[in-house]
Symmetry: C2
Subunit: 248 residues, 2 copies
DNA sequence: GCAAAAGTGTTGGAAATACACCCATGT
DNA sequence: ACATGGGTGTATTTCCAACACTTTTGC
Protein backbone atom coordinates (compact mmCIF):
# COMPACT_ATOMS: atom_id res chain seq x y z
CA UNK A 1 0.00 0.00 0.00
CA UNK A 2 1.17 3.40 -0.75
CA UNK A 3 -0.31 6.44 0.85
CA UNK A 4 -1.15 9.78 -0.59
CA UNK A 5 -3.47 12.43 0.59
CA UNK A 6 -5.54 13.67 -2.30
CA UNK A 7 -9.07 12.45 -2.76
CA UNK A 8 -9.99 14.71 -5.58
CA UNK A 9 -8.21 13.47 -8.61
CA UNK A 10 -5.08 15.55 -8.23
CA UNK A 11 -1.87 13.86 -9.02
CA UNK A 12 0.74 13.27 -6.47
CA UNK A 13 4.44 13.05 -7.04
CA UNK A 14 5.78 13.99 -3.67
CA UNK A 15 7.81 11.90 -1.32
CA UNK A 16 6.57 11.83 2.22
CA UNK A 17 8.18 11.26 5.52
CA UNK A 18 6.91 8.50 7.74
CA UNK A 19 5.62 10.92 10.32
CA UNK A 20 3.61 12.79 7.72
CA UNK A 21 1.92 9.56 6.76
CA UNK A 22 1.39 8.64 10.39
CA UNK A 23 -0.52 11.84 10.79
CA UNK A 24 -2.78 10.90 7.91
CA UNK A 25 -3.32 7.40 9.19
CA UNK A 26 -4.26 8.68 12.60
CA UNK A 27 -6.43 11.50 11.45
CA UNK A 28 -9.78 11.89 9.84
CA UNK A 29 -9.28 9.12 7.34
CA UNK A 30 -10.15 6.27 9.58
CA UNK A 31 -13.16 4.05 9.17
CA UNK A 32 -14.88 1.55 11.42
CA UNK A 33 -14.10 -1.99 10.32
CA UNK A 34 -16.09 -5.07 11.19
CA UNK A 35 -16.04 -8.77 10.48
CA UNK A 36 -19.19 -10.75 9.73
CA UNK A 37 -19.19 -14.53 9.87
CA UNK A 38 -21.42 -16.68 7.72
CA UNK A 39 -21.47 -19.97 9.57
CA UNK A 40 -22.76 -22.90 7.60
CA UNK A 41 -23.87 -26.18 9.08
CA UNK A 42 -25.60 -29.30 7.82
CA UNK A 43 -28.43 -31.14 9.51
CA UNK A 44 -31.54 -33.05 8.48
CA UNK A 45 -30.18 -33.01 4.95
CA UNK A 46 -30.41 -29.26 4.76
CA UNK A 47 -27.76 -26.60 4.58
CA UNK A 48 -28.14 -24.25 7.51
CA UNK A 49 -26.73 -20.93 8.55
CA UNK A 50 -26.34 -19.54 12.03
CA UNK A 51 -28.14 -16.26 12.76
CA UNK A 52 -28.89 -14.09 15.74
CA UNK A 53 -31.25 -11.28 16.41
CA UNK A 54 -29.49 -8.07 15.63
CA UNK A 55 -28.54 -6.51 18.94
CA UNK A 56 -29.16 -3.15 17.39
CA UNK A 57 -32.59 -2.05 18.59
CA UNK A 58 -33.64 -0.64 15.26
CA UNK A 59 -33.13 -4.03 13.60
CA UNK A 60 -34.20 -6.20 16.46
CA UNK A 61 -36.96 -7.73 14.42
CA UNK A 62 -34.51 -8.94 11.84
CA UNK A 63 -32.01 -11.73 11.82
CA UNK A 64 -28.37 -10.98 11.20
CA UNK A 65 -25.00 -12.61 10.76
CA UNK A 66 -22.53 -12.87 13.59
CA UNK A 67 -20.33 -9.82 13.53
CA UNK A 68 -18.40 -7.34 15.54
CA UNK A 69 -16.05 -4.42 15.16
CA UNK A 70 -12.40 -5.21 14.61
CA UNK A 71 -10.09 -3.90 17.26
CA UNK A 72 -7.26 -1.77 15.89
CA UNK A 73 -4.77 -4.16 17.41
CA UNK A 74 -6.42 -7.30 16.12
CA UNK A 75 -5.68 -9.36 12.99
CA UNK A 76 -8.68 -9.85 10.72
CA UNK A 77 -8.53 -13.63 10.92
CA UNK A 78 -8.23 -13.39 14.67
CA UNK A 79 -11.31 -11.20 14.78
CA UNK A 80 -13.28 -13.76 12.80
CA UNK A 81 -12.20 -16.52 15.14
CA UNK A 82 -12.98 -14.43 18.18
CA UNK A 83 -16.48 -13.68 16.97
CA UNK A 84 -17.16 -17.31 16.27
CA UNK A 85 -15.87 -18.25 19.70
CA UNK A 86 -17.82 -15.56 21.52
CA UNK A 87 -21.07 -16.31 19.84
CA UNK A 88 -20.99 -20.06 19.71
CA UNK A 89 -18.25 -21.25 22.01
CA UNK A 90 -16.66 -22.95 19.00
CA UNK A 91 -13.04 -23.06 18.15
CA UNK A 92 -10.71 -24.53 15.63
CA UNK A 93 -12.90 -24.55 12.56
CA UNK A 94 -12.29 -23.75 8.92
CA UNK A 95 -12.65 -20.02 8.28
CA UNK A 96 -12.16 -18.33 4.97
CA UNK A 97 -12.36 -14.73 3.89
CA UNK A 98 -15.03 -14.08 1.30
CA UNK A 99 -14.69 -10.44 0.39
CA UNK A 100 -15.15 -6.97 1.77
CA UNK A 101 -18.35 -4.95 1.60
CA UNK A 102 -17.89 -1.24 1.66
CA UNK A 103 -21.18 0.39 0.75
CA UNK A 104 -21.38 3.86 2.22
CA UNK A 105 -24.80 3.48 3.77
CA UNK A 106 -24.73 -0.17 4.59
CA UNK A 107 -24.83 0.54 8.32
CA UNK A 108 -27.15 3.00 10.01
CA UNK A 109 -24.60 4.02 12.62
CA UNK A 110 -22.24 5.45 10.06
CA UNK A 111 -19.55 4.19 7.74
CA UNK A 112 -18.70 0.64 8.64
CA UNK A 113 -16.78 -1.46 6.17
CA UNK A 114 -17.12 -5.16 6.81
CA UNK A 115 -14.99 -8.14 5.89
CA UNK A 116 -17.04 -11.32 5.43
CA UNK A 117 -15.76 -14.74 6.42
CA UNK A 118 -17.43 -18.06 6.11
CA UNK A 119 -17.02 -21.10 8.21
CA UNK A 120 -18.28 -24.66 8.13
CA UNK A 121 -19.17 -26.53 11.26
CA UNK A 122 -20.60 -29.86 12.17
CA UNK A 123 -23.87 -29.22 13.94
CA UNK A 124 -23.97 -32.61 15.64
CA UNK A 125 -20.50 -32.46 17.07
CA UNK A 126 -20.59 -28.84 18.12
CA UNK A 127 -23.72 -28.27 20.07
CA UNK A 128 -24.08 -24.58 20.68
CA UNK A 129 -23.57 -23.78 24.31
CA UNK A 130 -24.42 -20.15 23.95
CA UNK A 131 -27.82 -19.14 22.75
CA UNK A 132 -27.92 -15.43 23.47
CA UNK A 133 -29.89 -13.28 21.09
CA UNK A 134 -31.83 -16.31 19.91
CA UNK A 135 -28.81 -17.76 18.18
CA UNK A 136 -29.90 -20.71 16.12
CA UNK A 137 -29.73 -22.49 12.78
CA UNK A 138 -31.88 -21.44 9.84
CA UNK A 139 -32.39 -23.19 6.54
CA UNK A 140 -30.32 -21.30 3.99
CA UNK A 141 -33.02 -21.58 1.39
CA UNK A 142 -35.72 -20.10 3.60
CA UNK A 143 -33.96 -16.83 4.22
CA UNK A 144 -35.48 -13.89 2.42
CA UNK A 145 -34.43 -10.91 4.44
CA UNK A 146 -31.73 -10.02 6.89
CA UNK A 147 -30.59 -6.91 8.71
CA UNK A 148 -28.19 -4.47 7.05
CA UNK A 149 -26.81 -5.88 3.77
CA UNK A 150 -26.47 -9.31 5.31
CA UNK A 151 -28.65 -11.00 2.74
CA UNK A 152 -26.24 -9.93 0.03
CA UNK A 153 -23.30 -11.09 2.12
CA UNK A 154 -24.98 -14.43 2.67
CA UNK A 155 -25.75 -14.85 -1.03
CA UNK A 156 -22.20 -14.13 -2.09
CA UNK A 157 -20.77 -16.35 0.62
CA UNK A 158 -23.07 -19.15 -0.43
CA UNK A 159 -22.00 -18.82 -4.05
CA UNK A 160 -18.40 -18.93 -2.97
CA UNK A 161 -19.07 -22.01 -0.86
CA UNK A 162 -20.65 -23.69 -3.88
CA UNK A 163 -17.61 -22.96 -5.99
CA UNK A 164 -15.06 -23.94 -3.37
CA UNK A 165 -16.70 -27.14 -2.35
CA UNK A 166 -16.31 -28.46 -5.88
CA UNK A 167 -12.60 -27.87 -5.96
CA UNK A 168 -11.55 -28.48 -2.39
CA UNK A 169 -12.55 -31.07 0.14
CA UNK A 170 -14.18 -28.59 2.48
CA UNK A 171 -17.42 -30.37 2.84
CA UNK A 172 -16.05 -32.98 5.19
CA UNK A 173 -15.89 -30.51 8.03
CA UNK A 174 -19.68 -30.38 7.94
CA UNK A 175 -19.95 -34.12 8.52
CA UNK A 176 -19.22 -36.32 11.52
CA UNK A 177 -15.75 -37.87 11.49
CA UNK A 178 -17.31 -41.12 10.39
CA UNK A 179 -19.78 -40.76 7.61
CA UNK A 180 -21.51 -42.90 5.02
CA UNK A 181 -21.42 -42.22 1.32
CA UNK A 182 -25.10 -41.46 1.47
CA UNK A 183 -24.47 -38.68 3.98
CA UNK A 184 -21.70 -37.31 1.82
CA UNK A 185 -23.91 -37.29 -1.23
CA UNK A 186 -26.79 -35.69 0.64
CA UNK A 187 -24.41 -32.95 1.71
CA UNK A 188 -23.22 -32.23 -1.81
CA UNK A 189 -26.75 -32.28 -3.09
CA UNK A 190 -27.80 -29.81 -0.42
CA UNK A 191 -24.91 -27.43 -1.00
CA UNK A 192 -25.11 -27.54 -4.78
CA UNK A 193 -28.88 -27.80 -4.85
CA UNK A 194 -28.88 -30.62 -7.35
CA UNK A 195 -29.37 -34.35 -7.65
CA UNK A 196 -26.61 -36.75 -8.58
CA UNK A 197 -26.50 -40.35 -9.70
CA UNK A 198 -25.66 -42.51 -6.72
CA UNK A 199 -23.47 -44.96 -8.62
CA UNK A 200 -21.46 -42.31 -10.39
CA UNK A 201 -21.04 -40.38 -7.16
CA UNK A 202 -19.51 -43.43 -5.49
CA UNK A 203 -17.35 -44.14 -8.46
CA UNK A 204 -15.99 -40.61 -8.42
CA UNK A 205 -15.10 -40.61 -4.75
CA UNK A 206 -13.57 -44.05 -4.80
CA UNK A 207 -11.52 -43.11 -7.84
CA UNK A 208 -10.14 -40.09 -5.98
CA UNK A 209 -8.93 -42.54 -3.39
CA UNK A 210 -9.10 -40.15 -0.44
CA UNK A 211 -11.68 -42.06 1.59
CA UNK A 212 -10.55 -44.41 4.30
CA UNK A 213 -12.74 -47.44 4.76
CA UNK A 214 -13.19 -47.81 8.52
CA UNK A 215 -14.64 -51.30 8.27
CA UNK A 216 -17.53 -50.13 10.33
CA UNK A 217 -21.20 -49.96 9.56
CA UNK A 218 -23.95 -47.51 10.27
CA UNK A 219 -26.02 -48.41 13.33
CA UNK A 220 -29.74 -48.19 13.90
CA UNK A 221 -30.74 -47.36 10.39
CA UNK A 222 -34.06 -48.79 9.15
CA UNK A 223 -32.47 -50.38 6.10
CA UNK A 224 -29.27 -52.08 5.10
CA UNK A 225 -26.45 -50.23 6.90
CA UNK A 226 -23.78 -48.54 4.86
CA UNK A 227 -20.06 -48.53 5.40
CA UNK A 228 -18.44 -45.69 7.29
CA UNK A 229 -15.50 -43.69 5.99
CA UNK A 230 -13.37 -40.77 6.84
CA UNK A 231 -11.36 -38.39 4.72
CA UNK A 232 -7.61 -38.78 4.30
CA UNK A 233 -6.37 -35.20 4.42
CA UNK A 234 -2.73 -36.23 4.34
CA UNK A 235 -3.09 -38.13 1.13
CA UNK A 236 -5.05 -35.26 -0.37
CA UNK A 237 -2.36 -32.73 0.47
CA UNK A 238 0.22 -34.77 -1.39
CA UNK A 239 -1.83 -35.23 -4.50
CA UNK A 240 -3.26 -31.78 -5.11
CA UNK A 241 -4.15 -30.87 -8.61
CA UNK A 242 -2.77 -28.87 -11.37
CA UNK A 243 -5.43 -27.18 -13.36
CA UNK A 244 -4.98 -25.90 -16.83
CA UNK A 245 -8.02 -25.82 -18.99
CA UNK A 246 -9.90 -22.88 -20.36
CA UNK A 247 -13.55 -23.41 -19.71
CA UNK A 248 -15.96 -20.48 -19.78
CA UNK B 1 -22.92 -6.50 10.41
CA UNK B 2 -23.87 -6.41 13.98
CA UNK B 3 -22.00 -4.37 16.46
CA UNK B 4 -20.99 -5.16 19.99
CA UNK B 5 -18.32 -3.70 22.14
CA UNK B 6 -16.41 -6.46 23.83
CA UNK B 7 -13.06 -7.47 22.48
CA UNK B 8 -12.11 -9.82 25.24
CA UNK B 9 -14.23 -12.87 24.78
CA UNK B 10 -17.12 -11.77 27.00
CA UNK B 11 -20.53 -12.58 25.69
CA UNK B 12 -23.02 -9.97 24.78
CA UNK B 13 -26.73 -10.26 24.97
CA UNK B 14 -27.70 -6.65 25.25
CA UNK B 15 -29.75 -4.62 22.86
CA UNK B 16 -28.25 -1.31 21.92
CA UNK B 17 -29.62 1.94 20.76
CA UNK B 18 -28.45 3.40 17.53
CA UNK B 19 -26.74 6.30 19.20
CA UNK B 20 -24.78 3.99 21.45
CA UNK B 21 -23.47 2.20 18.40
CA UNK B 22 -22.75 5.47 16.67
CA UNK B 23 -20.54 6.35 19.56
CA UNK B 24 -18.61 3.14 19.10
CA UNK B 25 -18.28 3.61 15.38
CA UNK B 26 -16.96 7.12 15.83
CA UNK B 27 -14.65 6.37 18.65
CA UNK B 28 -11.42 4.56 19.12
CA UNK B 29 -12.34 1.59 17.02
CA UNK B 30 -11.57 3.10 13.67
CA UNK B 31 -8.82 1.95 11.38
CA UNK B 32 -7.17 3.47 8.33
CA UNK B 33 -8.37 1.72 5.17
CA UNK B 34 -6.63 1.75 1.83
CA UNK B 35 -7.09 0.28 -1.61
CA UNK B 36 -4.20 -1.16 -3.61
CA UNK B 37 -4.54 -1.81 -7.32
CA UNK B 38 -2.67 -4.56 -9.11
CA UNK B 39 -2.80 -3.45 -12.70
CA UNK B 40 -1.94 -6.11 -15.22
CA UNK B 41 -1.05 -5.45 -18.82
CA UNK B 42 0.29 -7.49 -21.71
CA UNK B 43 3.03 -6.48 -24.09
CA UNK B 44 5.85 -8.18 -25.99
CA UNK B 45 4.26 -11.48 -25.05
CA UNK B 46 4.83 -10.88 -21.38
CA UNK B 47 2.46 -10.28 -18.56
CA UNK B 48 3.26 -6.96 -16.94
CA UNK B 49 2.26 -5.11 -13.82
CA UNK B 50 2.25 -1.41 -13.20
CA UNK B 51 4.38 -0.18 -10.31
CA UNK B 52 5.58 3.11 -8.89
CA UNK B 53 8.24 4.16 -6.47
CA UNK B 54 6.73 4.21 -3.04
CA UNK B 55 6.14 7.84 -2.15
CA UNK B 56 6.98 7.00 1.40
CA UNK B 57 10.57 8.07 1.93
CA UNK B 58 11.50 5.02 3.95
CA UNK B 59 10.58 2.74 1.06
CA UNK B 60 11.64 4.99 -1.74
CA UNK B 61 14.09 2.43 -3.01
CA UNK B 62 11.33 -0.11 -3.47
CA UNK B 63 8.57 -0.47 -5.98
CA UNK B 64 5.01 -0.59 -4.84
CA UNK B 65 1.48 -1.07 -6.08
CA UNK B 66 -0.80 1.85 -6.77
CA UNK B 67 -2.69 2.63 -3.62
CA UNK B 68 -4.23 5.29 -1.51
CA UNK B 69 -6.31 5.73 1.61
CA UNK B 70 -10.04 5.37 1.23
CA UNK B 71 -12.02 8.43 2.09
CA UNK B 72 -14.73 7.81 4.68
CA UNK B 73 -17.32 9.04 2.20
CA UNK B 74 -16.09 6.94 -0.69
CA UNK B 75 -17.23 3.54 -1.94
CA UNK B 76 -14.47 0.95 -2.14
CA UNK B 77 -14.97 0.36 -5.85
CA UNK B 78 -14.96 4.10 -6.42
CA UNK B 79 -11.69 4.38 -4.56
CA UNK B 80 -10.12 1.73 -6.76
CA UNK B 81 -11.29 3.53 -9.87
CA UNK B 82 -10.09 6.86 -8.55
CA UNK B 83 -6.63 5.51 -7.83
CA UNK B 84 -6.35 4.03 -11.27
CA UNK B 85 -7.48 7.28 -12.83
CA UNK B 86 -5.16 9.43 -10.75
CA UNK B 87 -2.12 7.35 -11.37
CA UNK B 88 -2.56 6.44 -14.98
CA UNK B 89 -5.24 8.66 -16.43
CA UNK B 90 -7.17 5.53 -17.33
CA UNK B 91 -10.84 4.99 -16.98
CA UNK B 92 -13.45 2.41 -17.68
CA UNK B 93 -11.52 -0.78 -17.20
CA UNK B 94 -12.28 -4.08 -15.60
CA UNK B 95 -11.65 -3.94 -11.84
CA UNK B 96 -12.22 -6.76 -9.42
CA UNK B 97 -11.78 -7.06 -5.72
CA UNK B 98 -9.25 -9.69 -4.70
CA UNK B 99 -9.32 -9.78 -0.93
CA UNK B 100 -8.42 -7.75 2.11
CA UNK B 101 -5.08 -7.76 3.87
CA UNK B 102 -5.21 -6.88 7.50
CA UNK B 103 -1.85 -7.75 9.05
CA UNK B 104 -1.23 -5.59 12.09
CA UNK B 105 2.25 -4.50 11.14
CA UNK B 106 1.93 -4.45 7.41
CA UNK B 107 2.35 -0.69 7.25
CA UNK B 108 5.04 1.27 9.11
CA UNK B 109 2.79 4.26 9.73
CA UNK B 110 0.38 2.30 11.87
CA UNK B 111 -2.56 0.03 11.32
CA UNK B 112 -3.69 0.22 7.74
CA UNK B 113 -5.99 -2.45 6.38
CA UNK B 114 -5.95 -2.64 2.62
CA UNK B 115 -8.41 -3.96 0.08
CA UNK B 116 -6.70 -5.26 -3.06
CA UNK B 117 -8.22 -4.91 -6.51
CA UNK B 118 -6.88 -6.06 -9.80
CA UNK B 119 -7.43 -4.62 -13.16
CA UNK B 120 -6.53 -5.58 -16.72
CA UNK B 121 -5.60 -2.99 -19.28
CA UNK B 122 -4.42 -2.94 -22.81
CA UNK B 123 -0.99 -1.36 -22.86
CA UNK B 124 -1.13 -0.45 -26.52
CA UNK B 125 -4.49 1.25 -26.41
CA UNK B 126 -3.96 3.04 -23.14
CA UNK B 127 -0.68 4.79 -23.28
CA UNK B 128 0.12 6.14 -19.85
CA UNK B 129 -0.06 9.90 -19.79
CA UNK B 130 1.09 10.20 -16.23
CA UNK B 131 4.49 8.95 -15.26
CA UNK B 132 4.99 10.40 -11.80
CA UNK B 133 7.00 8.38 -9.34
CA UNK B 134 8.56 6.45 -12.18
CA UNK B 135 5.30 4.72 -12.99
CA UNK B 136 5.96 2.00 -15.49
CA UNK B 137 5.38 -1.58 -16.50
CA UNK B 138 7.41 -4.43 -14.99
CA UNK B 139 7.52 -8.06 -16.01
CA UNK B 140 5.47 -9.95 -13.48
CA UNK B 141 7.93 -12.79 -13.38
CA UNK B 142 10.91 -10.58 -12.63
CA UNK B 143 9.52 -9.12 -9.44
CA UNK B 144 11.17 -10.39 -6.33
CA UNK B 145 10.56 -7.71 -3.76
CA UNK B 146 8.11 -4.89 -3.22
CA UNK B 147 7.42 -2.36 -0.51
CA UNK B 148 5.14 -3.26 2.40
CA UNK B 149 3.41 -6.62 1.85
CA UNK B 150 2.87 -5.82 -1.80
CA UNK B 151 4.68 -8.87 -3.06
CA UNK B 152 2.21 -11.06 -1.23
CA UNK B 153 -0.68 -9.01 -2.58
CA UNK B 154 0.72 -9.33 -6.08
CA UNK B 155 1.17 -13.09 -5.74
CA UNK B 156 -2.36 -13.65 -4.53
CA UNK B 157 -3.79 -11.35 -7.18
CA UNK B 158 -1.85 -13.16 -9.85
CA UNK B 159 -3.14 -16.53 -8.65
CA UNK B 160 -6.65 -15.17 -8.73
CA UNK B 161 -6.12 -13.84 -12.22
CA UNK B 162 -4.93 -17.27 -13.32
CA UNK B 163 -8.02 -18.90 -11.90
CA UNK B 164 -10.46 -16.35 -13.24
CA UNK B 165 -9.05 -16.19 -16.70
CA UNK B 166 -9.80 -19.87 -17.16
CA UNK B 167 -13.45 -19.51 -16.30
CA UNK B 168 -14.30 -16.07 -17.59
CA UNK B 169 -13.37 -14.23 -20.73
CA UNK B 170 -11.36 -11.57 -18.96
CA UNK B 171 -8.28 -11.86 -21.02
CA UNK B 172 -9.74 -10.02 -23.97
CA UNK B 173 -9.46 -6.71 -22.19
CA UNK B 174 -5.70 -7.11 -22.35
CA UNK B 175 -5.75 -7.35 -26.13
CA UNK B 176 -6.49 -4.84 -28.85
CA UNK B 177 -10.08 -4.92 -30.06
CA UNK B 178 -8.92 -6.81 -33.11
CA UNK B 179 -6.61 -9.67 -32.35
CA UNK B 180 -5.28 -12.77 -34.00
CA UNK B 181 -5.55 -16.22 -32.53
CA UNK B 182 -1.81 -16.24 -32.11
CA UNK B 183 -2.00 -13.14 -29.92
CA UNK B 184 -4.77 -14.71 -27.90
CA UNK B 185 -2.77 -17.85 -27.37
CA UNK B 186 0.37 -15.94 -26.46
CA UNK B 187 -1.64 -14.12 -23.84
CA UNK B 188 -3.02 -17.29 -22.27
CA UNK B 189 0.40 -18.84 -22.31
CA UNK B 190 1.86 -15.80 -20.58
CA UNK B 191 -0.82 -15.62 -17.90
CA UNK B 192 -0.89 -19.33 -17.19
CA UNK B 193 2.83 -19.76 -17.70
CA UNK B 194 2.41 -22.78 -19.91
CA UNK B 195 2.52 -23.91 -23.51
CA UNK B 196 -0.53 -25.08 -25.40
CA UNK B 197 -1.06 -26.96 -28.60
CA UNK B 198 -1.89 -24.48 -31.32
CA UNK B 199 -4.43 -26.67 -33.08
CA UNK B 200 -6.28 -27.63 -29.93
CA UNK B 201 -6.30 -24.04 -28.80
CA UNK B 202 -7.99 -22.95 -32.01
CA UNK B 203 -10.41 -25.81 -31.85
CA UNK B 204 -11.43 -24.87 -28.32
CA UNK B 205 -12.06 -21.24 -29.11
CA UNK B 206 -13.90 -21.91 -32.34
CA UNK B 207 -16.05 -24.48 -30.58
CA UNK B 208 -17.03 -21.90 -27.95
CA UNK B 209 -18.28 -19.81 -30.80
CA UNK B 210 -17.69 -16.45 -29.16
CA UNK B 211 -15.18 -15.12 -31.65
CA UNK B 212 -16.34 -12.89 -34.45
CA UNK B 213 -14.41 -13.27 -37.67
CA UNK B 214 -13.76 -9.74 -38.89
CA UNK B 215 -12.65 -10.83 -42.36
CA UNK B 216 -9.54 -8.81 -41.89
CA UNK B 217 -5.93 -9.82 -41.83
CA UNK B 218 -2.93 -8.81 -39.80
CA UNK B 219 -0.76 -6.20 -41.50
CA UNK B 220 2.99 -5.89 -41.71
CA UNK B 221 3.89 -9.19 -40.20
CA UNK B 222 6.98 -10.96 -41.54
CA UNK B 223 5.08 -14.13 -42.32
CA UNK B 224 1.69 -15.25 -43.48
CA UNK B 225 -0.85 -12.89 -41.86
CA UNK B 226 -3.53 -14.31 -39.61
CA UNK B 227 -7.20 -13.48 -39.45
CA UNK B 228 -8.43 -10.92 -36.97
CA UNK B 229 -11.27 -11.49 -34.52
CA UNK B 230 -13.04 -9.86 -31.69
CA UNK B 231 -14.96 -11.26 -28.76
CA UNK B 232 -18.73 -11.45 -28.77
CA UNK B 233 -19.63 -10.45 -25.21
CA UNK B 234 -23.35 -10.46 -25.92
CA UNK B 235 -23.36 -14.03 -27.07
CA UNK B 236 -21.23 -15.03 -24.10
CA UNK B 237 -23.63 -13.42 -21.64
CA UNK B 238 -26.50 -15.44 -22.99
CA UNK B 239 -24.72 -18.75 -22.92
CA UNK B 240 -22.98 -18.69 -19.55
CA UNK B 241 -22.28 -21.98 -17.94
CA UNK B 242 -23.80 -23.95 -15.21
CA UNK B 243 -21.18 -25.62 -13.24
CA UNK B 244 -21.59 -28.88 -11.44
CA UNK B 245 -18.71 -31.29 -11.16
CA UNK B 246 -16.70 -32.21 -8.11
CA UNK B 247 -13.06 -32.06 -9.00
CA UNK B 248 -10.45 -31.74 -6.29
C1' DG C 1 13.29 -20.48 -52.64
C1' DC C 2 13.44 -20.01 -47.93
C1' DA C 3 11.88 -18.77 -43.37
C1' DA C 4 7.99 -18.27 -40.44
C1' DA C 5 3.78 -18.76 -38.95
C1' DA C 6 -1.26 -19.78 -40.57
C1' DG C 7 -4.50 -23.07 -41.35
C1' DT C 8 -6.54 -27.79 -41.11
C1' DG C 9 -8.41 -33.46 -39.26
C1' DT C 10 -7.96 -37.70 -37.28
C1' DT C 11 -7.27 -40.90 -33.79
C1' DG C 12 -6.92 -43.05 -29.12
C1' DG C 13 -7.66 -42.75 -24.32
C1' DA C 14 -9.91 -40.95 -20.26
C1' DA C 15 -13.65 -39.34 -17.99
C1' DA C 16 -18.57 -38.53 -17.50
C1' DT C 17 -23.13 -40.19 -18.10
C1' DA C 18 -26.96 -43.22 -18.28
C1' DC C 19 -28.84 -47.05 -16.76
C1' DA C 20 -30.75 -52.12 -13.89
C1' DC C 21 -30.18 -55.69 -10.95
C1' DC C 22 -29.16 -58.15 -6.62
C1' DC C 23 -28.21 -57.71 -1.45
C1' DA C 24 -28.61 -56.82 3.59
C1' DT C 25 -31.19 -55.14 7.21
C1' DG C 26 -35.43 -53.73 10.08
C1' DT C 27 -40.18 -54.16 10.55
C1' DA D 1 -42.59 -60.87 2.79
C1' DC D 2 -41.70 -56.37 1.93
C1' DA D 3 -39.83 -51.82 2.12
C1' DT D 4 -35.67 -49.23 2.10
C1' DG D 5 -31.59 -47.93 0.70
C1' DG D 6 -26.63 -50.31 -0.06
C1' DG D 7 -23.64 -52.12 -3.28
C1' DT D 8 -21.96 -53.23 -8.02
C1' DG D 9 -20.76 -53.19 -13.75
C1' DT D 10 -21.29 -51.99 -18.47
C1' DA D 11 -22.24 -49.53 -22.74
C1' DT D 12 -22.24 -44.99 -24.70
C1' DT D 13 -20.84 -40.58 -25.32
C1' DT D 14 -18.13 -36.62 -24.75
C1' DC D 15 -14.05 -34.34 -24.13
C1' DC D 16 -9.10 -33.83 -24.39
C1' DA D 17 -4.38 -34.75 -26.05
C1' DA D 18 -1.30 -35.97 -29.33
C1' DC D 19 0.20 -35.42 -33.60
C1' DA D 20 2.07 -33.68 -39.46
C1' DC D 21 1.45 -31.70 -43.52
C1' DT D 22 0.13 -27.98 -46.78
C1' DT D 23 -0.52 -22.88 -47.55
C1' DT D 24 0.46 -18.02 -47.58
C1' DT D 25 3.13 -14.20 -47.03
C1' DG D 26 7.65 -11.29 -46.57
C1' DC D 27 12.25 -11.18 -47.54
Amino acid sequence: MHISSTKNGDLIASVKTLSAVQTEVKSINRIALSVDCVIFGFDENKLKVLLIRSDLKKFHEKWSLLGDLVDPKEELDAAANRILKQRTGLDDVYLEQVRTFGGINRHPAGRVVTVAYYSLINIQHHKLKILDNELHWHDVNDITELAFDHKQILDISYEQLQRRVQEHPLAFSLLPKKFSLRELQNLYEAILDTKMDRRNFRKKFFAMDFLIDLNQMEQDVPHRPGKLYNFNYNKYEKKKKKWIGIDF
